[in-house]
């Protein structure tokens, strides 16, 4: 079995026939942008390029700016797409579907046994691209042999064997390096079945899993796993869950294993290197490298090389070698931006921002890890000096250049950026500016986890949160905004209007008053839940022990 689409099987002989047909349709182009969103179509397109000596281009995003740069990189690039509404500014080939019922009949005996095309290990299979600091995507070569070597070790880590073919259900796009390796190549090279769909909502992911026979593997990311766990749906048993693109919290990993009743493996890698390490997060924090890959620390930076890695590569995360072939992951290097598995850099985003007509100066900054939100995604914000632009026009211009997930939230128009005398812009100064620019009426949202401890309320099955916890959240929000430079606060007044339950989403708002106090309000779906006043704690001690000695 090669693949499933909506539960219907697609066999290997069918795949090979489709590959031959699409290879023929691709004609003379030597570079193909494979923009198919259906995973089966993508795989056919990729294999068609392999068999006809064409190179697949796999950029992370298809904004008009990236497309323009791709045509400079490969002037003859042809776009293969299965989207009838595709508007990419490239010569396009619509994925040619097989011709009706005739194609669905199994061909006579000798065609069925058509040999699987052999591809030279050294053949250039694809270019993947990362966001460079100069604003131009940087290409990375992927040769066929190294791709296969990489996913073969991956299959060993996953405990897969050709004798027990699995079905792969993936929420990730096939163009992204992780999706490319884990949802396409691993299946293709190991005799497993891939699923054509890319399910999005939790209910769709559940349906996709239930639609394929076991053994079945879910290939996903922390964003979708969090959503699945938060959805209260009954999860069907799976045989393995793969997770990558960002570290998955231990308790989420444990809950995933428990609710799917199988093991969860995390994969670590990068666009440049492909996957290079794996771990089971419920068993320990250490990652185990692929056997021939090695890490070389150079100050704060770590280089990876060896094995399937095409060339020594500077990793974008802070890695600590903790043993032979093992390391710990400490976080990203400051410039790297990773939002829901899509990677960019502050330098690249800043370059795009400053290239927009009307922008005099602009800079992106990281927002703190979103401690509230079902998807746990932290965004980037931006401060911009652009007296003649408004937000709508600026965002539209940005949309043409960068992936939507990187659009700044918030986008703040300021008079000037706090550059120092050498022109550098310290991140802390930029964030402080952003805080001030958002104005006195700061608002944030807070989600009370469903499993948060609560008191039994007056009514059955209606536990309530103690009000003091809400006060704690407000004080914390204020202190965070003060950035550790402010004083401490005491509760001047507090009124609790409605009970709060675990699992609810609240809005916390506060406004600083001219007399130094802070008015706060907490609401749920626009309805007030609590409000009150914070008063600065006096710095001199009060009471008997506080009086100055005479």
């Amino acid at each position: 079995m090669f693949a499933y689409r909506a539960g219907a099987p697609i066999r290997a002989w069918q795949f090979l026939a489709d590959v031959r047909r699409v290879a023929h349709a691709l004609g003379g182009a030597t570079h193909v942008l494979n923009a198919c969103s259906d995973r089966y179509h993508f795989s056919v397109g990729f294999a068609a390029c392999l068999t006809s000596g064409k190179v697949s281009l796999l950029p992370a995003t298809n904004t008009p700016e990236v497309v323009r740069q791709l045509t400079e990189f490969a002037p003859d690039v042809l776009c293969l797409t299965d989207d009838a509404d595709c508007t990419l500014a490239l010569p396009r080939l619509a994925y040619p579907e097989a011709d009706g019922a005739a194609a669905r009949r199994a061909p006579p005996g000798e065609s069925r046994a058509a040999p699987v095309p052999q591809i030279e290990a050294a053949q250039l299979a694809a270019y993947v691209f990362t966001s460079g600091s100069t604003g131009t995507p940087v290409p990375y070569r992927k040769s066929w042999g190294r791709l296969v070597e990489c996913v073969r070790e991956g299959a060993r880590r996953l405990g897969l064997t050709p004798q027990m073919p699995c079905a792969f259900v993936a929420t990730v796009p096939p163009q992204h390096m992780y999706g490319f390796e884990s949802s396409v190549l691993t299946a293709m090279c190991g005799g497993h079945a891939l699923c054509a769909a890319r399910p999005f909502y939790p209910a769709d992911i559940v349906a996709a899993l239930e639609g394929v026979p076991r053994p079945r593997i879910l290939v996903s990311t922390p964003v979708h796993l969090r959503a699945l766990l938060a959805s209260d749906l009954a999860l069907p048993p799976a045989d393995l869950v793969l997770c990558s693109t960002a570290p998955l919290a231990q308790q989420l990993a444990a809950e995933t294993e428990q609710r799917f009743n199988c093991e969860l493996l995390e994969i670590y890698g990068s666009t440049e290197t492909g996957q290079i390490a794996a771990r089971n997060p419920t068993r320990g924090a250490e990652w185990r490298l692929w056997p021939e890959v090695s890490l070389s620390p150079e100050g704060e930076v770590t280089w990876a090389q060896g094995g399937h890695i095409e060339q020594p590569t500077r990793m974008c995360d802070v890695l600590e070698v903790s043993g032979a072939g093992r390391f710990l992951l400490h976080g990203r290097l400051a410039d790297l931006v990773n939002i829901a598995g899509k990677r960019s850099s502050l330098a690249y985003l800043n370059h795009q921002l400053n290239s927009i007509a009307g922008v005099e100066d602009g800079a992106f900054f990281h927002l703190e890890e979103a401690r509230s939100s079902h998807t746990g995604v932290a965004r980037v914000g931006a401060c911009v000096v652009a007296p003649c632009l408004d937000a709508a026009r600026l965002l539209e211009a940005l949309r043409g250049r960068i992936d939507a997930v990187f659009l700044p939230r918030p986008l703040l128009f300021v008079a000037r950026l706090p550059r120092n005398s050498t022109g550098k812009l310290p991140q802390e100064a930029l964030r402080a500016l952003a805080m001030r620019s958002r104005g006195a009426g700061a608002v944030s949202s807070l989600i009370i986890p469903a499993e948060h401890p609560a008191l039994a309320g007056h009514f059955p099955d209606a536990p309530i949160l103690p009000g003091v916890l809400l006060l704690d959240e407000i004080v914390r929000a204020v202190e965070t905004e003060d950035g550790g430079n402010g004083g401490r606060w005491r509760i001047g007044a507090a009124k609790f209007v409605k009970p709060v339950r675990p699992g609810e989403t609240l809005t916390l708002g506060h406004e600083r008053q001219s007399n130094g106090s802070i008015h706060f309000r907490i609401s749920r779906a626009g309805e007030p839940v609590a409000h009150g006043v914070l008063v600065p704690l006096a710095t001199r001690q009060q009471g008997d022990h506080g009086r100055q000695a005479g």
Binding site: P202, A203, A227, R409, S445, T505, A525, G526
Partner: protein, 100 residues
């Protein structure tokens, strides 16, 4: 005399307005948007243009909507783009499918 189950009555207008305000409030809170719920034009696009939400936001909204109203969104029943075409369309979808 009909043996069929009674048709689900259309929601009276006042309830729709209240529900629209409630859903707008949920969206603003869940996504930490820099605007008031009352400022969301019920007919402006939510996804892409208009409110400018992306797919992560859609997932986030789908979760709060499922928790609040028991609606499980599916991509194959109706497009993201239609359900999230506007606040009004989202509210209509919730009315038609809510279980809480």
């Amino acid at each position: 005399m009909s043996d069929k189950a009674p048709l689900r009555q259309p929601e009276p207008p006042a309830n729709v307005t209240a529900l629209t305000a409630e859903v707008a409030g949920l969206i603003v809170e869940a996504l930490n948007l820099d605007r008031a719920a009352a400022d969301i034009d019920p007919d402006q696009p939510l996804y892409g243009e208009g409110l400018g939400l992306d797919s992560i936001d859609i997932l986030e909204i789908a979760l709060v909507v499922s928790k609040q109203y028991g609606v499980q969104l599916r991509a194959d029943s109706e497009d993201n783009e239609r359900i999230f075409g506007s606040l009004r369309q989202l509210v209509e979808y919730i009315i038609a499918h809510r279980t809480k």
